[in-house]
Symmetry: none
Amino acid sequence: MSVPLKAGVLIADDHGLVRDGLRMVIDAAPDLEVVAVAEDGNRAVERGLDPRVDLALLDVAMPRRTGLQAARELTARRPELRVLMLSMHNVFDYFLEAVKAGASGYVLKTVADRDLVLACRAALRGETFIYPGMVRSLLREHLERAALGESQLPDDLTPRESEVIKLIAEGLTSDEIARELTISPRTVERHRENILGKLGMRNRVELTRYAIRQGLVEP
Amino acid sequence: MSVPLKAGVLIADDHGLVRDGLRMVIDAAPDLEVVAVAEDGNRAVERGLDPRVDLALLDVAMPRRTGLQAARELTARRPELRVLMLSMHNVFDYFLEAVKAGASGYVLKTVADRDLVLACRAALRGETFIYPGMVRSLLREHLERAALGESQLPDDLTPRESEVIKLIAEGLTSDEIARELTISPRTVERHRENILGKLGMRNRVELTRYAIRQGLVEP
DNA sequence: CCGTGGATGGGAAGTCGTGCCCATTGCCCT
DNA sequence: AGGGCAATGGGCACGACTTCCCATCCACGG
């Protein structure tokens, strides 16, 4: 038989619309298939014990039992099960808790569909998935908060990176910035890449809003 | 009969929690009563046409139509209607735009409950409400800028274009915007093209800064 | 009834941005 | 001396953006 081997996925979220959306995204992937759905943490544990489930997508905030509690229970009883936590918030503490609870990854609900599928595949391969840029920024946030008590500081962009972000937020292209700074366009893009990574952002628009919030440029 | 005459209030804000909070504040006042609620700009206009509504509280930044656009539409169609703009930001341009759009006042969301009620009463009496401390600094900024010959032309953008520009300025890609509005990515790009043309801009970054200046999105 | 303009969509081509791989240089710190 | 890191740059792939062309449909006013 040549049936493609699909990984079985459990979806657990208390919002019906979110469940339906996730189901469509997952089922659209050729190598993934939704085999169970749960609307609260208790049912997520029940259904996650089903051996057809290879990967559990758990919302952090669910009634009756949180995604974190469900993850702890599930990974204790089925160590081979992969778990991805879904969250609305880019908050470091949640991520830490998620990893401590046995999750293989932490995915924001704001991500694009494609990225969710990528995260699922990474989790199934046994990798711990997190947006490359989130790691550093989250770790830094956490360390700073631990060190300074609290307060969100301006980020640890290097001086050169600050120059670049300003020019980006003024609407210049890489080539124009390169001419401005008399360096190679390639280097400008390298800096931009690092900035996006450090701040956990996706594109120039988010970066522009950041720069305006920080007062680096005028709107 | 001795029923106290209550002024009818419309609350328009895209955040449910904010709506609920405002409703409680308003309904706690003996002379005010919430008679309508809206979660975006289009619905704000619909419900603001209801003759029971004497005063509209409009959030500056709402989906589908901004508070400013809604205010323009409402005051054009119901000149006797009073409008108060609600904003998170103490920024002069927003205030000017609000007044130009027909608002009777501009209230920061950080105000105390009591001040909001005072602002409502002032607006209902036909006064233009603004925090005394804001006036001087705001007027000064404005005069400086007027002296420099800066004239912000009003947006000749269509309603649809405004929706699109907001989503662009929030960092969404064309595909994501297309899903959000349930139209084709191609159409999103068509709108973006028209917007760039109308405003004489080159890319999403300049467009983002424009949207922030106009109060279409928060930085 | 016709014209205007908004909203919708498609195609093609070229530029730009983003992600991921690689490298070298120099500087600071232990 | 070795480790870490900022700054520099190359290559490659892919997706996103931008700018042209084209079109249909609908609402509204004259």
